[in-house]
Amino acid sequence: MLGLLIRAGRGHGHEGDGADRSDDAPQEQDAVVTGSPFDVEALGWFARRFDPSLALENAWPLPIWETGREALADAFGLATGSHFLRHHRGLLPQLWERQITQALRAMILEAPDRTIERSQALMSALAGPRAPRLGRVDLVTADHADRMDLAVHYRTVDDQRGCLVVEAKLESELSDTQLGKYLTGLKRSYPRREHRHLWVVAPRRTARTMTVLRRRENVEWSFATWRRLLLNWQRALPDDPGSDVLSLFGEIWKRTGGN
C-alpha cells in the first residue's frame, strides 16, 4: 500500500505542477511498478501489524485467568495445600516484638524432630543459596532489652559452629550502638565471619534503618522485611507445617502491615 501511495503521489505531482518531465522520470516510475525492495518490505510491515480496528470494536482477546492464578501462586508460594495466607487469623491480640520472637522460638523448639527443619527453613529464607546446611541446633534464644531478639546457635553438617541472629523490629528503630555491641559479643564465640548470619527484620526499610546499616561497623548485618521473611520461610517449610505455624505466620503478616 505504501508503494501505491508513493506512486500516486508522484503521478499527481507530475500532472499537477506542470513541470517539465526530466529524462529519468520514467525510470523512477518503472522502479515502483516492478516493485523495489523498499516497497516489498513496506507492504510486509503493514501485513504483519495487528489490525487496530479490533481494539476499536472492543474485541481484544481476554487474558486467561488461569495464567494469572498460576503467577500469583508462584510469587506467593500458594501452590502448597496449606498456606498462612489462607489460614484463619484474628484470634490473638496485637503482637509486640518480644511476643513475636518468643513465639517463633517456641515454634522452632516445638518438637525436637522439627527443630532442625524449621531452623534450616529460617536460614534458607534469609540467606538463600548461601545458607549453610545445619546438622544440629544447640540453642535457640529469644531475649529482650539489650540482648539479641532471636538467635539460633547451630553446627553445620560439616560440624562447623555458627549462629543466625534476627534483630526484630516493628515500630521502633535501631539504636546507634546495639548492632555493634551484639557483633562484639558474637565474635568471641564465632570468630570467623562466615559463621555469623546477622539480619535486621522490620516491616519496611526506613531511612534510619538504612543509615545505621550503612555504617562500617554494621557491614555484616543484612536487611529483610517481615513479609518477605514469612513468605520465604513458608516456602522452605514442608507442605503442611501445622496450623499453629500457619496461624502464627498469619498473625505476624497482619501485624507487620500485610493484608
Partner: protein
C-alpha cells in the same frame, strides 16, 4: 451474567485475595524490596494478574450494577464519576475497587441526589458470602432506615440486606437483588418525597 474467573477466585480463595491486595497496595518504594534478579519475572507476572483481576471486577461490577440498579433511579439526579469522587472521599482512586474493608470485599457504588437527599446505590462481592447490596440515603447526615429490607447498618452508615447471591457457579441471575434494590428505592423515594402540609 457470567462471573469472571478472577473475581470468583478472589472471593473464594483467601490466599489469592491477600496476594492480590498485597500487590495492589504496595508503595512504589516497597515493590522490589529485597528481591533477587531471578524473582523479578515472577513478580511482574503476579502484578499483571492482580491488575487483571482489578480490571475484570470493574467491568463485571458495572454490568452487574446496570442489571440490578439500572433504570430504578432515573428520577434521581445521577452524579458523574468526577462529582462522585469529589463528594465521597471513600471512593478513592477507583470507582470500582478492591476495598480496604477487613472482610476484603470488592465493591462498586453510585451516588444520586434528589432534593437534599443523597442515595448511595452499591453492590459488593463479599468473601465467603456472595454478591450483596449496600445502600444508604440521608439528608444533612440524617440517615434513612432500611431495616425493612432485613438489613443491618455498618459502622460507616451503609445498610446491607441479608440476602446474598452466591458467586459459586460461572453465572448468576441478578433478579433477586434487583427486587431488593427496587424496594430500597421505594423507601428512599418515600423519604425524599415532599411532605404535604396538613390543613387544620
Amino acid at each position: 451474567m457470567l462471573i469472571p474467573e478472577s473475581v470468583a477466585a478472589y472471593v473464594h480463595d483467601g490466599g489469592i485475595r491477600r496476594a492480590v491486595k498485597e500487590l495492589i497496595g504496595l508503595d512504589p518504594d516497597e515493590i522490589l524490596d529485597g528481591m533477587a534478579w531471578g524473582e523479578l519475572a515472577r513478580f511482574y507476572r503476579a502484578q499483571l494478574a492482580a491488575r487483571q483481576l482489578e480490571a475484570e471486577w470493574g467491568v463485571f461490577a458495572l454490568d452487574a450494577w446496570d442489571a440490578i440498579w439500572g433504570g430504578l433511579l432515573d428520577h434521581w439526579k445521577s452524579l458523574s464519576p468526577d462529582e462522585q469522587m469529589a463528594t465521597d472521599a471513600d471512593v478513592g482512586v477507583n470507582l470500582a475497587s478492591l476495598s480496604d474493608t477487613d472482610d476484603g470485599s470488592l465493591w462498586f457504588g453510585r451516588l444520586f441526589t434528589s432534593r437534599n437527599f443523597t442515595f448511595y446505590a452499591s453492590l459488593a462481592a463479599v468473601p465467603a458470602s456472595g454478591l450483596r447490596l449496600k445502600v444508604s440515603c440521608d439528608r444533612n447526615e440524617r440517615p434513612v432506615s432500611f431495616a425493612d429490607l432485613d438489613a443491618v447498618l455498618d459502622d460507616v452508615g451503609n445498610w446491607t440486606p441479608a440476602f446474598a447471591l452466591p458467586l459459586d457457579g460461572g453465572e448468576i441471575d441478578p433478579s433477586p437483588l434487583r427486587e431488593i434494590a427496587a424496594q430500597a428505592v421505594r423507601i428512599a423515594d418515600e423519604a425524599a418525597a415532599p411532605r404535604a402540609r396538613t390543613k387544620i
